[in-house]
Symmetry: C2
Subunit: 375 residues, 2 copies
């Protein structure tokens, strides 16, 4: 077995989820990630914990089969009794009971075809996810981790060779996370007490926002592996200016390029995109919160040196910032402050490596990708 | 997808486990059985039930990794504190909670290497199984089914081509089970009220036993798919005579051929084998019950027309009988009768297709593989 896989497993267990003797562990993985699942079982055996492997979140082909059959079935019922045609789902009590008794939940993203659910009705998927919401909430109450195995289909999505993508993933994941945490802590120290942030890049992007009273968090590879960002929430009414997101955005299987947003009083008052602008319009029209920012993040994992159409990596790319329209994370909003609420949370990325600055309360803290604390 | 896979899934759902709307279903399968797992998800979606896929019973490579790591770990602990070197295991509460909330449990045997656990310490495996006993008992209280997917490694064990083995498995599984049940009911009608059974085959085999008061059961593809036997328990003290089991026996990875047993007062008083006789001796010396019969079965699935080193199939082979030394199944023992008890249950098979008869209370009911009710 590639020694990087065993190292990945050890980082998950010892750094991300702090595996303990007696822990009841669920590993949720597609079979293409088998090597990492096996390595995790070695680490779990070493620790004296109890492993169980499922393919619930990750088994896309079987989920597609189930959802399409449920759909056909409800259409057939609908035709016979005219009681509406969308499939409905129960919260599966057995899966809920499993997760309620789980201490550690490890989800390994990997696929043999990233478009496996392309022909599932989005409304059916949404109904299924809605029924699974209590299970999702239980997962989030465990010591959980979401990570990536570099399967060939994921390399293909990234437009990379499999070997090249393996190197990319394991360089980003198998890091000295203490060192990364300390590096990022420098930026948290600057942002956490600050009021105003200004992002300038190229000829178009120049935006200011207030983060006054909102905590800045340090993501160093715990719930997300790789980690590598510091992030907070802007005050919903405070955003002013314009942003050109020059990294592509991949939303529900469609690529949106060169997203441009203009803000007044926190709200998006103008927008455009070079490709698939109508998808962007649809996102912004979801609800009121979808036209305001819910997150500002600073990507600080320099081993993530390219865009791979995978937000688990893209938003942590070194020398980038990202802003999300839509829902703010609760723990990034101070008690006194308003949290932006929305059904969506869509991240968009600005390259900050050239002709760019980040200002915190009027002080330049990053210029062309170099932080003040690096000089 | 091969239409025989969908048919297999429908038989599991509609015949074996009687799938109902709202059922919480666990499918336990190795990834090589993915096509059947997907077909089951279609059928489960049709039924409006809730599927969940695990690879607990079937994920041999990950279990090997876990058990070996647990072993090394306990050896390390033992070296440091001298408290004994065998790994110990807890009953995983999350897995138990899952199965306690499960209505239907479907285990699909399939492997990419049937000798995957060859280098796991048998004592460690036994300790692991012991810890999982409450989970096994919960599984047996669901509507459960054990079946086989014809993976290449299983074909190799059977010494068959993959295509040939696929045909073999699906011929044995995708049957008209109502017809098979009726065919077998003829034999149940003869045996259930009977007292004495005599099995004669070739020059050596001639054995009599009492089944007085013990129910004869009809296995037509419910818990085991394929099914295809009728079976009961002999009275432990009643077996007299000698048997040459001319079909090979595969026990814990070792083949035993031409097992010969001589019975007096129910007990094995002499035994031999052409190959691996010492393994047979070991089995018979397990405990007192291991030297007495716990089962007599009549194989009646004529689509199983060859020996494949897989007891799920072999014991149902048409024109055979099998006898097991060791533990009797509770539901084959009448309330007034004694049940043979043992830690083992090892089935052995006699070919009845030539120069053979089965007598029930002195009447010949089968001769050279043909039943009286077939004439």
């Amino acid at each position: 077995m590639d020694p990087r896989i065993r190292e990945h497993a050890e980082i998950i267990a010892n750094h991300s989820v702090d595996l303990q003797e007696g822990d009841n562990v669920v590993v949720d993985a597609h079979p293409v990630a088998e090597d990492l699942v096996v390595a995790l079982h070695e680490v779990i055996g070493d620790a004296g914990a109890n492993p169980m492997t499922v393919s619930q979140r990750t088994g896309a082909r079987q989920r597609r089969a189930f959802l399409r059959a449920a759909d056909d079935d409800s259409e057939a019922r609908s035709a016979s009794n005219a009681s509406g045609g969308t499939a409905s789902f129960d919260t599966p009590e057995h899966e809920l009971a499993l997760i309620q008794n789980t201490d550690v939940y490890i989800a390994i993203r990997a696929s043999d075809n990233v478009t496996q659910t392309a022909d599932v009705d989005p409304e059916t998927s949404a109904a299924y996810q809605q029924a699974h919401r209590p299970i999702l909430e239980e997962r989030l109450s465990t010591r959980w981790c979401l990570t990536q195995y570099p399967a060939p289909a994921n390399a293909q999505l990234a437009e990379m060779s499999t070997e090249g993508y393996e190197r990319f993933v394991w360089d980003a994941v198998n890091k000295d996370w203490d060192e990364q945490r300390e590096h990022q802590a420098n930026m948290v120290e600057l942002m956490d007490p600050a009021s105003e942030i200004r992002i300038k890049s190229g000829e178009t992007t120049d935006v200011t926002m207030s983060i006054d009273g909102n905590p800045t968090l340090n993501d160093y590879g715990e719930h997300n592996l790789p980690g590598g960002e510091v992030f907070t929430a802007p005050q919903p009414d405070s955003v002013e200016g314009e942003v050109l997101f020059d990294m592509p955005l991949y939303h529900q299987g469609r690529e949106i390029t060169d997203v441009y947003l203009e803000f007044e009083g926190g709200e998006v008052v103008d927008h455009s995109a070079a490709k698939n602008e109508e998808v962007l319009t649809e996102v912004l029209n979801t609800d009121d919160g979808a036209r305001r920012l819910g997150e500002l993040g600073i990507g600080m994992n320099r081993d993530i040196d390219r865009f791979t159409y995978n937000m688990l990596f893209d938003e942590k790319m070194g020398d980038t910032v990202h802003m999300a329209v839509g829902r703010a994370y609760d723990d990034t909003v101070g008690e006194e402050n308003e949290a932006n609420d929305s059904a969506v949370h869509v991240d968009m990325i600005v390259d900050m490596s050239e002709d760019s600055i980040i200002e915190v309360d009027g002080e330049v803290v990053q210029e062309d990708g170099t932080f003040v604390f690096e000089e």
